[in-house]
Symmetry: C3
Subunit: 367 residues, 3 copies
C-alpha cells in the first residue's frame, strides 16, 4: 500500500490501485444511520470514515455511538450485548457507558483509567442519526446541516432509502452537482434531455450552489402521475442543488404551470437530499431522500415515484462503481490528467472546499 497521497484541489475523487485518498474531513457531522436502524436492546455496527463504530440506545432511548473496539483484547463491542445504559463486551464482559468509560470489569474491582473507548457526539434529527467524528469539543459549536423539510414529513411527503455505494463519496457529490449527465445516464428513465447548458453557480466559503432554469418546458415523466399534469402542459422548471457540507447535498425542483385554469394549482415543489458518509475511501453509505408538497394523499403515486428514482439512481451507482473499479485496477490512476469543462464548475468548487477542510485539519491535528 502506498502512503496516503498528497491531495490538492485538483485531485480527482477516486484513487487507483494501491493508493489511499483521505478526502474526508473529520470535524463534521455525518449521518451514521437511519433512526429506525438504532433499536432498543440492539447493537448496530457501522464503519464511518474508516473506523468501526457501534450504535445503541440507552434505557431512556438516547442514541449512543462508541468506538467499536474493546480496549482490553480488541473484540468488536458490537458482538456483545446492551446491559441497561451500557454495552457489555462479549469476550470478557467488560462494560462501557455512554461516555465510553469502562464501568465494570468482572474479574476485579479496580478499573484502569485507560479502559475507555471513544464516545461520539450524537444528534437525532428527523429520520437521521448524525455523529460528530472530530474533536468532541468542537461539536457544540456546530449543528448538523439538516434541511428543515427533512423534519417535516407531514408537509413534504418524504420517501427515501439507503443505497450503499462502492465508490468514493465525493464522486457521488460531483455527480449530483452536474446534472448534464441526465441525458446519458438516465436517458431511458428520467427522460430529461434539456439539461444541456452549464449552470449558474454561487459559491460561498463552505457551500456551492448551481441554479438552472427551464422556460416553457414540460412536466418531467417522474412527476406526471403525482401532479396529474398532462404531458402536453407547459411549465417553467426551476432547479438548484447545493452542497451544504461534505455530508449532505440538497436539491430543489419547482414547477410553475403556465396558463392555469381558474382555481387550478400552479406551483409544484420537490426537494432532494443526497446524504453521503464515507465508510472508507472506496465505500460510501449513501441515503437519498425526496419530498414534495403535492403527494401527501397519493400513496400509489409516491410508490411509483420511489421505484422510478430507485431505478434511475442505480444507474448512477453502476456508473460510479465502474469508475471506481477501473481506478482500483490501475496503479497509475492519479497520474492521469483530468479534463474539465464549464459544466464541472460546481463540482470543482465543492472539491476545492472539501480539500481546504482536509488540509486545515492536517495542519491542526490537535483539533
Amino acid at each position: 500500500m502506498r502512503s496516503p497521497q498528497h491531495v490538492s484541489a485538483a485531485t480527482p475523487p477516486i484513487a487507483g490501485a494501491g493508493q489511499e485518498l483521505h478526502n474526508f474531513p473529520t470535524n463534521q457531522w455525518w449521518v451514521a444511520a437511519l433512526r429506525e436502524e438504532v433499536q432498543p436492546g440492539r447493537l448496530l455496527e457501522r464503519r464511518l470514515l474508516g473506523k468501526s463504530v457501534v450504535l445503541y440506545r440507552t434505557t431512556e432511548g438516547k442514541a449512543v455511538a462508541l468506538e467499536n473496539r474493546c480496549p482490553h483484547r480488541a473484540a468488536p463491542l458490537s458482538l456483545g450485548t446492551v446491559v441497561g445504559d451500557r454495552v457489555m463486551c462479549g469476550y470478557h464482559g467488560f462494560q462501557y457507558g455512554p461516555d465510553g468509560r469502562c464501568a465494570h470489569i468482572p474479574t476485579q474491582s479496580a478499573i484502569p483509567s485507560s479502559a475507555v473507548v471513544r464516545s461520539f457526539p450524537v444528534r437525532e434529527l428527523g429520520p437521521l442519526v448524525w455523529v460528530w467524528t472530530g474533536a468532541p469539543e468542537l461539536a457544540q459549536h456546530s449543528e448538523p446541516p439538516c434541511p428543515q423539510w427533512l423534519l417535516d414529513d407531514a408537509t413534504w411527503a418524504l420517501i427515501g432509502e439507503a443505497m450503499p455505494l462502492k465508490a468514493n463519496y465525493m464522486s457521488l457529490k460531483e455527480n449530483v452537482l452536474d446534472l448534464t449527465h441526465f441525458g446519458y445516464v438516465h436517458a431511458s428513465t428520467f427522460k430529461i434531455t434539456d439539461w444541456v447548458n452549464p449552470p449558474e453557480v454561487e459559491v460561498t466559503d463552505s457551500s456551492v450552489k448551481f441554479i438552472q432554469r427551464f422556460e416553457n418546458s414540460v412536466c418531467p415523466v417522474m412527476y406526471l402521475e403525482l401532479s396529474g399534469l398532462g404531458p402536453e402542459r407547459r411549465v417553467n422548471r426551476y432547479s438548484w442543488g447545493v452542497s451544504l457540507s461534505p455530508a449532505i447535498h440538497e436539491a430543489c425542483m419547482e414547477m410553475t404551470v403556465l396558463e392555469t385554469a381558474p382555481g387550478e394549482r400552479a406551483e409544484y415543489r420537490s426537494r432532494f437530499a443526497h446524504i453521503t458518509t464515507p465508510a472508507s475511501s472506496r465505500e460510501t453509505h449513501y441515503w437519498w431522500f425526496t419530498g414534495n408538497d403535492y403527494g401527501q394523499n397519493n400513496a400509489q403515486g409516491q410508490e411509483t415515484l420511489k421505484e422510478l428514482i430507485r431505478v434511475a439512481f442505480r444507474e448512477d451507482k453502476v456508473m460510479l462503481e465502474c469508475i471506481q473499479a477501473a481506478a482500483d485496477a490501475d496503479p497509475d490512476y492519479l497520474n492521469y490528467r483530468e479534463v474539465s469543462v464549464a459544466a464541472d464548475r460546481p463540482g470543482l468548487q465543492a472539491r476545492r472546499i472539501l480539500m481546504r477542510l482536509v488540509e486545515q485539519e492536517k495542519a491542526q491535528p490537535g483539533t
Copy 2:
C-alpha cells in the same frame, strides 16, 4: 504491504491492514498434520509458518516433509506423484528423495548439486505428525512437547478434531490461558459461570501455567452424562492450563466428588490439548484434543461431549476471527493502546516468552 513490524512483548497477537506480524519462532516442533492425513501413495500440501510443505510416506511408512516447490520451474511438488520413496514433480518429472536431493532428471544423467529441496525433520507421536521448521541440526536436541496422555487412547478415551482458524495463532493461545471468557463466550454452552477470579500463575523460562480451584462446586454440564453425576452433587474442581510451547497448550480439569457413598468413584480426570500451527500470521491450523479417564466404554457420552465442545469452541473461533477481521480492516491497529488486567497475566507471560524466542532467532539468523 508495510515492512514487518518490530514486535515486542507488548505487541498484541493481531496485526492491522497492510501489517505483517511474524510472531512465530521457527526453531520449534509444530504439528503439521494428523497422522491419518498422511496416507501411503498420497501427497499432502500444507502451509506451515508461511511456507508450503508437502508430506508423504516412504514405502516403509516413514512420514517425509519437503519444501513444496520444485527448484527447476517452481511447480508445487504436491501436484506430482509418489514414486517409491520419492516424490516426482508433475511438470517435468524431476524426482526428489526423503533427504530433499534430486535423484532423477528424465532428460539428462547429470544432476545439478543445487537441485535440492528442503527436507524437514519429522516425528510421529500418537495421532500427530510433528515437523521441525528451523535449523535441522537443532532438531536433534529437542523432542516434540507432546503430553503422554495424547499417546494413550486406551486410558484417556481421546476425542478431537481440526478447527481451522482465520486468526493469528497467539490469539487462540491467549484465549485458552484466560478462561474468564467462559461466562460470556460460552454462557449458553458450557454454562460455567464461576470463572470470575484471576488465577494463580507459575512461570518458567519457557512455559506459563495458571491454576484455578473451585471448592464445593458442581459437575459442569459437559460432564454430567459421561460421569453419571447428578447436577446436585457437590465436587471440588481443580483446573490448570499450561503453554508447553508455542505449538501446544495443555489443560487439566479434575473433579473430586464430596461425600461419596462407600465404593463410589470419587475422582474424574480430563485433559485438553490446544494445538496451534501458524499457516500465516492471519491463519492457523488448530486442532483440539481432549481425553478423560472415565469415558472409555461410553461411546454415546463421548459423542455428546465432542459435539458440545465443538459448538463451544466454534464460539471462540467466531470471536477470534471477528477480532482478526476488524484488525485486518484497520491500518492503525498496532497503534492502539491495549488495556490489560490481572486475569491477563498468563497470556501476557506467554506472549513475552514467545517474543523472546522470536527476537533470539532474529539476532542469530544462522541458527
Copy 3:
C-alpha cells in the same frame, strides 16, 4: 505493494506476493481479440498490458482500439455507445473519434485540446485483431508476426479457441518451448512419451527455435482418427517450435510414413500457434490455434482433435496457474534460486530476448 522489481535475463516469469513483474515489451504487436469478437455497434473492453482498452468498428467496418477511459471524469468508454464512427461516453456524452480526439461535448462548443484518448494502431489478419501498444510512430516499421497458414483456412483446416490463463504469459511461452513436459503433464492425454532428449536449438537476435526428430516412431494418438493411419504404422516425426515474438509462438509437427503402399499418402503436416497477450503480470489472454493439411473434409475428426487438445491444454493451464498461485502466496518468491537443465535452453534464450527488449524500452522511454 513493492516497487517493480529489476528484471534480468535470469528472472523467472512469475513474481511472488506483493511483487510486480513487468516482463512485457510495449513496442510490439499483440493480439487484442478474435476478429469475430469485435462486432458492429458493440464495444468490447479488454485489458492489454495492464491497461483497459475499448475496441469497436467504424461504419466502414474498420476496427478501432482506444484507451478505455474518458479524460473528463474517467468513465470507462466501454459503458457508452457507438455513434457512427465514434464512441460516446455513457456518463456525460463526450464523443471520441477513431483517432482518439474528442469530437463533441454536449454542453459547449469549445473542445479542449487535451480531451483526447490514446488510439492504438490496429491490424486485422485472418482470425485475429492485432494492436500495437507502444509508440504509434514505430508501428509502421513493423507488421504483426502472423504465420501465413493462419490466414489460409482452406489449406490448413484451422481450429482454435481462447483459454484465459491466470499466470504470467511468459510461463506459457516457456511451457511450449520445452516439450519434455509431455510425458508428465500430458501422460494420459497426448500419450507422447518419447520427448526425453534436450532439443537442437537455433537462436537469432529476436527468435528462438527448437528442433526435435523422432525416427521410426508411431503416429501420435491425437492424429490417428484424422490421418487414418493405424497405430502400428511407422513414421518419422519432425517437430519444431519457434518464439516468433513475445506475442506468438509457432510450432510444427510433420509425419512421414515409412514404407507406404503405391499411391498412398506419405506426408502429414500440422501447425500450431500459441498466442499470448499479457492482461497483467498475473493474467494472460491465451489463444491457441492449430491447422493441418489433411483434415479439411473431416469435420468429426477435427472436432475430436479439438476436444483432445482442449483437455490437454487445460492440463498446462492447471499447472501454470498453480505455479502462479504458489508464487502469489510467497513474498520471497524471487529470492529462490532456479535450477535449469539442458532442456531449458530454448526457454532461457526466449527469456533473454524478452528481457533485452524490456530493458531497451526502459532505457529509451521516449520510444
